[in-house]
């Protein structure tokens, strides 16, 4: 799709307060590029963010946006998209917002498969509250609130999404500007819920899941013989452990978005000045 919208049009004039070197800079740039390159306009785009470092993203981007309460960004995005299917809806969050306090909504948003995208900045740490364990932190990760490690299995976001019936799962690394943008673009273009987990390192509080770690361990799934339309293969890739895959790991080519199944087409904002013309029929039903 051709468009004269540039990614800079999605940028606000507010300077980010993220720590210098934070992965969220790259993540956000890729989101803005993906939105612009898929032909969207800030006036037709609705961005929702939750709480945490990632939640600040609505402030730094220019579009219609809501920065909500912790963990509930997905329901807000779904509500907006269903009310006006013409909007491009993108939800941004972090690993705490999406996989801890909002884990329930994550699972159900995946199931519902509304045509929107969800980008999670996964840094495996709580940064805004200065360094506590997150649901994706490693089992032996020592923090101020987990001095002996978390002693819990980390959430596997991709496996969780697949088990809930995801129609699109992608994973990217915030430093890989090109690869990240491409995957987010595909998530935006996907007919359904486009979920992208982004390795977005926290340079201040996480000295384990660092840029160096990801650079060394990431495998671009596009360079393997993986078929992204093969769900069984995708399940194998995301559950085998030990490898941090990036790229589009699964996409259901036959995905039909929820709103299409439900026959939602119109912009619900448009209503008559009074009761609908045939409204007395509603009363007569009670005869």
């Amino acid at each position: 799709m051709s468009s004269d919208v540039r990614f800079i049009d999605f940028k606000s004039d507010k300077q980010p307060t993220w720590c210098p070197g934070c992965g969220d800079f790259g993540t956000m740039n890729g989101m803005m590029k993906a939105l612009a390159q898929t032909g969207n306009h800030p006036d037709d785009t609705f961005i929702v963010a939750g709480i945490g470092c990632s939640g600040k993203i609505g402030t730094y981007m220019h579009s219609y946006a809501l920065h909500g309460v912790h963990g509930r960004a997905l329901p807000v995005g779904i509500g907006a998209k269903l009310a006006n299917p013409n909007l491009e809806v993108m939800v941004a969050g972090g690993d705490g917002d999406g996989y801890s306090i909002g884990a329930g909504h994550f699972v159900h948003a995946v199931r519902r498969n509304v045509d929107m995208s969800y980008v999670v900045m996964d840094n495996r740490i709580y940064g805004l509250t200065k360094g506590q364990a997150s649901p994706t932190s490693r089992e032996d990760f020592e923090t101020s609130t987990t001095p002996d490690g978390t002693n819990q299995t980390p959430v596997n976001p991709l496996a969780l999404a697949l088990s809930a019936g995801a129609t699109f799962i992608g994973q990217t690394f915030s430093s890989d500007a090109r690869g990240h943008t491409e995957v987010v673009k595909k998530a935006v273009e996907h007919d359904g819920f486009g979920f992208v987990n982004v390795y977005s390192p926290c340079v201040t509080f996480n000295d384990v899941d660092t840029y160096d770690y990801f650079r060394d361990s990431i495998v671009d799934i596009g360079e393997t013989d993986h078929d992204p339309t093969d769900r069984d293969a995708a399940i194998e890739r995301v559950t085998e452990g030990g490898t941090e895959y990036t790229g589009v790991i699964y996409q259901d080519p036959d995905s039909v978005p929820y709103e299409q199944r439900e026959g939602i087409e119109s912009n619900m904002a448009e209503i008559p000045d009074g009761a609908p013309e045939d409204a007395m029929d509603l009363v007569r039903e009670f005869y």
Binding site: H67, P75, A80, A269, I271, Y287
Partner: protein, 587 residues
């Protein structure tokens, strides 16, 4: 015998009590009689007992009374549960062939009609129709033309095909004929029919219909008694107007879904009961500070915690007034009748958009489950007005832009109400947040901007206080010494009690208050009265507490919190008792 008839069917949950009761209510309504129903019998023992009670008259009926004339008892317990309401000459219809009913003893002063409900139903095509056989028997007892029942049965079973409809109509006839042949006597009832056309609906349905009339296009909710009927009513119907009902994974999602839809410009709503309000409270502040118009309906039931899910209470007022951390601006509207459930819902949507604020629509179980008759013009759709407030189109966006041409969704206007653009409006893009924000909707901790925005949001409330009527509904003698004040569903029972009290020479001025915040100033009324009595279904007197603070004066209280709505006759007794001169206690 009076034309006023009190009828009930009772049995175990799963016996089809509600649908049978509704069919009879429908038949009476079709015959031009007024109907008022209730499903909230006091239960002395915990368990599956359930009943559906119908009060019917040619004149309007607004409450239940402590009296039962005809009872269909599917279980022995049904009789025991209703001993106090049965009287000399009450008719009890039961199936003596049912194993568990063989030893039933109908009190000597009453009339027992032993009708083989199951056997006759089988003759008509299936045991499942035994309740309908009982309805036929009831028609015979009260001399009610059975053709009216035919119509109601046809409406109820229409989607199941003609054969099922005809079988049911036949079952009713077998019950009627059996009763006529085996109990050849006059029961003293002669149910008069009229040519009036009434509609029969409950408060939840009225709320749902009000939402559709007002242009609500998005409803999200999580099923909960007694609010589920709102959701079920809207499901399918809202689609006719391009809208949708979304069943959420929990109430946290429900309110956030509705919030998202409202941000996108839809008139959106969620409905729940107390336990759901607990969860939704998390998002109240976000709705308020982002200045999002949203209608949040609480159909109250007995709490706290899971409480008594199918019982009446008005215990959520404090939570609705104060729930949530920080100072949250909100409006609270509380319909007092089933018909008002419709009109107050319409009003709630207009208030929400006019003032860009959360509006709580508070109803209670007694309103929600009461099926009541009305003339169709009670819901005159031509009277419905839709006011969307300060919506800005793209050609006017610049009027509200700052020097950098950025749209200001929280611009501090004189009346506090800011311009609003929907996503998709060119040039109107903006963010907003639950963080304190500036006029652009961006986070700020600037002390002056903070004060400016808090004041701006408060100004909206002040504007609303000035612009809207916030009136009460007044009944009785305006010069009476005794003032009764109430809110919610108690209005009907109080009005009926007033008629009885008037016969005893006790005059009452009754103010039924449909606005909880802002609410009408009752100072003059309380000052003019010798005695002020607040009637409400809770233990602490939450409205009475408010009123005392509003008027700086003590008031008398009548509270009921056993899970059952007020009945007119008990109010007569309680009010009479309160007004009786207190004996001096001198030592």
């Amino acid at each position: 015998m009076p034309d006023d008839l009190n009828w009930a069917i009772g049995g175990e949950a799963g016996d089809g009590i509600n649908s049978t009761g509704k069919i009879f209510a429908q038949a009476l309504s079709r015959a031009g009689r007024h109907v008022y129903t209730s499903k909230d019998f006091a239960s002395r023992i915990r368990g599956g007992y359930t009943a559906y009670k119908v009060r019917t008259s040619v004149d309007r009926v607004e409450s239940v009374v402590d009296r039962l004339d005809v009872l269909i008892a599917l279980t022995e317990r049904t009789i025991n549960e209703n001993t106090d309401e049965l009287h000399d000459g009450s008719v009890i219809i039961y199936d003596g062939e049912r194993t568990s009913m063989q030893d039933v003893e109908v009190p000597g002063n009453m009339v027992g009609l032993d009708v083989p409900l199951k056997r006759l139903a089988e003759d008509a095509g299936g045991a499942i129709m035994r309740n309908v056989v009982a309805l036929g028997a009831a028609c015979e007892v009260v001399n009610f033309p059975i053709e009216n029942l035919d119509e109601a049965l046809s409406k109820r079973f229409d989607d199941k095909g003609t054969a099922i409809v005809e079988n049911n109509q036949q079952a009713a006839r077998l019950g009627q004929e059996y009763t006529a042949e085996n109990y050849d006597r006059e029961f003293g009832y002669d149910i008069e029919t009229t040519d009036e056309d009434y509609v029969l609906l409950n408060g939840d349905e009225a709320i749902g219909m009000g939402a559709l009339a007002a242009g609500c296009r998005f409803y999200s909710g999580y099923p909960i008694t007694p609010a589920t009927d709102v959701m079920e009513y809207l499901t399918g119907r809202i689609d006719r107007y391009g809208g949708k009902v979304v069943q959420a994974e929990d109430e946290l999602a429900a309110i956030n879904l509705a919030l998202g839809a409202a941000r996108a410009g839809a008139r959106a709503m969620t409905a729940t009961s107390g336990p759901g309000i607990d969860l939704m409270t998390e998002t109240f502040g976000l709705v308020a500070t982002t200045e999002t118009p949203l209608v949040i309906c609480d159909v109250m039931r007995a709490g706290p915690s899971t409480g008594m899910p199918t019982k009446q209470e008005q215990g959520d007022l404090d939570m609705l007034l104060y729930g949530g951390h920080g100072e949250i601006h909100r409006l609270i509207v509380g319909p007092t009748t089933v018909a008002e459930c419709f009109w107050k819902t319409v009003e709630a949507f207009n208030l929400a958009e006019r003032y860009q604020m959360p509006v709580f629509l508070v109803a209670d179980l007694a309103l929600a489950v009461t099926e009541q008759t009305f003339t169709p013009d009670t819901f005159d759709m031509d009277e419905v007005e839709v006011d969307r407030g300060k919506i800005v189109e793209s050609d006017d966006v610049n009027t509200w832009a700052d020097e950098k041409e950025r749209f200001q969704p929280h611009f501090p206007t004189a009346d506090g109400i800011s311009p609003r653009t929907f996503p998709g409006t060119d040039g109107g893009a903006h963010m907003t947040t639950g963080l304190e924000h500036d006029s652009l909707g961006r986070r700020t901790e600037d002390t002056e901007v903070r004060v400016e925005q808090v004041d701006k949001r408060q100004r909206k409330v002040n504007t609303a206080k000035k612009q809207e009527a916030w009136d009460w509904r007044e009944f009785g003698n305006p010069d009476a010494d005794t003032l009764v004040v109430s809110w919610g569903s108690n209005e009907g029972a109080i009005r009926e009690a007033m008629e009885f009290l008037a016969e005893d020479g006790i005059q009452i001025r009754f103010l039924s208050v449909p606005y909880l915040f802002p609410r009408p100033d009752l100072s003059e009324a309380v000052e003019a009265a010798e005695t002020t009595i607040v009637v409400e279904c809770n233990a602490r007197g939450q409205f009475a507490n408010l009123l005392e603070r509003d008027v700086f004066q003590r008031v008398e209280r009548i509270n009921k919190y056993n899970g059952v709505r007020f009945e007119a006759d008990e109010l007569v007794a309680e009010i009479t008792d309160l007004l009786r001169p207190q004996e001096a206690t001198t030592q």
